[in-house]
Symmetry: C2
C-alpha cells in the first residue's frame, strides 16, 4: 500500500490565526492598523466566537492589542520584548529553576554585553550610561539605588545593539535577580558596586571590549559570591 501521511484537521480559528499572524509579520498589516472583528467574521466565513478565539491567540502572542468602544478594534502591534519576557518568566516559574540558574546565566550575559557595548556604543549610549551611573552615586536609600542600578545595566545592554541579547538580558537580568536578594542595604556594598561599575563604564567608553568584558565578569562574579548565589 502507498504511504499515507497523517491527516491533520486544522481547527478554524487556528487557520485564521495563522493567516493574520503571517500578514502582521510580513507587513501586509502594518503596526497601528485597526482590524475590525466583524469584518473578519464576514471575510473568513467563521462565526464570531471562532474569530474571537483567533484574536485571543494573537493577543497572547503579543501581536495585537484590543481597544473597546467606538473606533476600537484589534490593533496590530510592533513586536517588542514584553511578550518574550512573559514567556521566559513563565518558563522560569514552570521549571522552578533555582536562583543559581539565573545567577549563572547573568554571569554569561553581562560580560558579553559589556564587550559588545565597548565596540558599538554611540555618543547617546555613553551619555545615558554616564548619567545613570551618576544617579547611582547620588542615590542614598537602597530602593533608589537598586532601581538606578537596574537602569544602568539595561542601558549597557542597549548599548550592545544586539536586540536579541538585550531582550533576554532585560528579562533574566538584574530585574529578576535584584528583588530576590534584597542586598544593597549595606553602604559598603553600594560603594563597591559604584566603583566596579565605574570601571566597567570606563572600559566601555574607551572602546576596550576585552577589558570591559573582564571587568563586568569580575563584578558579577563578586556579586554572586557575596550573595552565595552560585553553589558549585
Amino acid at each position: 500500500m502507498a504511504e499515507i501521511a497523517r491527516v491533520e484537521t486544522r481547527k478554524g480559528f487556528e487557520a485564521l490565526a495563522e493567516q493574520l499572524r503571517n500578514q502582521i509579520l510580513d507587513g501586509t498589516i502594518t503596526p497601528g492598523q485597526v482590524i475590525n472583528e466583524r469584518e473578519i467574521v464576514e471575510k473568513s466565513g467563521l462565526s464570531r466566537g471562532s474569530v474571537r478565539e483567533a484574536f485571543r491567540e494573537l493577543e497572547t502572542q503579543g501581536l495585537v492589542s484590543t481597544r473597546r468602544g467606538r473606533n476600537g478594534g484589534r490593533v496590530a502591534l510592533q513586536l517588542d520584548g514584553d511578550i518574550l519576557r512573559r514567556s521566559l518568566d513563565l518558563f522560569i516559574r514552570g521549571q522552578q529553576a533555582p536562583l543559581s540558574v539565573l545567577a549563572e546565566s547573568l554571569q554569561v550575559f553581562a560580560p558579553a554585553l559589556a564587550g559588545l557595548a565597548a565596540l558599538r556604543r554611540t555618543a547617546e549610549d555613553i551619555a545615558e550610561m554616564s548619567e545613570l551611573h551618576a544617579r547611582l552615586e547620588r542615590a542614598t536609600d537602597p530602593g533608589r539605588f537598586v532601581r538606578a542600578n537596574i537602569q544602568w545595566h539595561l542601558a549597557v545592554a542597549r548599548a550592545g545593539h544586539n536586540p536579541l541579547l538585550a531582550a533576554i538580558y532585560q528579562v533574566i537580568g538584574p530585574d529578576l535577580l535584584t528583588p530576590r536578594v534584597g542586598g544593597f542595604a549595606d553602604r559598603d556594598v553600594r560603594t563597591a558596586t559604584i566603583r566596579a561599575e565605574g570601571l566597567v563604564l570606563d572600559a566601555i567608553i574607551a572602546g576596550d571590549a576585552p577589558l570591559a568584558r573582564r571587568r563586568m565578569e569580575k563584578h558579577i562574579v563578586a556579586y554572586n559570591d557575596r550573595h552565595g548565589l552560585i553553589a558549585d
Copy 2:
C-alpha cells in the same frame, strides 16, 4: 477631593485564565490532570465562550493542551522549552533581526555552554556527546551531517545543566542558523568541523572548562567568519 485610583474592570476570561494559570504553576493542578471545560463553566459562572477564551490563552502560553472526544479535555502540561522557542522565533521574525545578530548571539552562548558542560557533564552526557560525534564522522551526505551536528550542539547544551541557557540555545542555536546558510556541502568544511568539535569534546570530557570555552569560541568564530556572518 480625595485621590481616586483608576478603576480597572478585568475581563472575565482574563481573571479565569489567571486563576487557572496560578493553579497550574503552583502545582494545585498537576501536569497530566484533565480539566473539563463544562465543569469550569459551572464553577466560574462564566459563559462557555469566555471560558474557552481563557483556555485559548493558556494553550497559547503552553500551559495546557486540548484533547477532543470522549475522555478528552484540557490537559495541564509540564512547561518545556517549546513555547519559549515559539516566542523567540516570533520575536526574531518581528524584529526582522539580521543574521549577524543570531550569529553573534551564538558566539556568546556556545562557549559558555561548553564551559559549563566541562564542569557538569555526567557519564550519560559524555556517552551521548561521543555517540553523536561519532555519527558526525560517519555522515556522508550534507543533510545527515547538519542534523547530526545540531544534535551534538544540543547535547553539549544539555550537558551544561542550566535549563534556561539550554532552552535559549536550542532556539537560537545551530537549529536556526544552519538552515539559513546551507554550508557543509564542501567536504573540507565537514572535516574541519569534525576536528574542531572533537577538540571541544576532548576538553569537556577532561573537565577543562576554560579550554572547552576557548576551543568552542574559536570554532564558532571560524564558522561565522567562513560564512561571512558577522559584519564588523
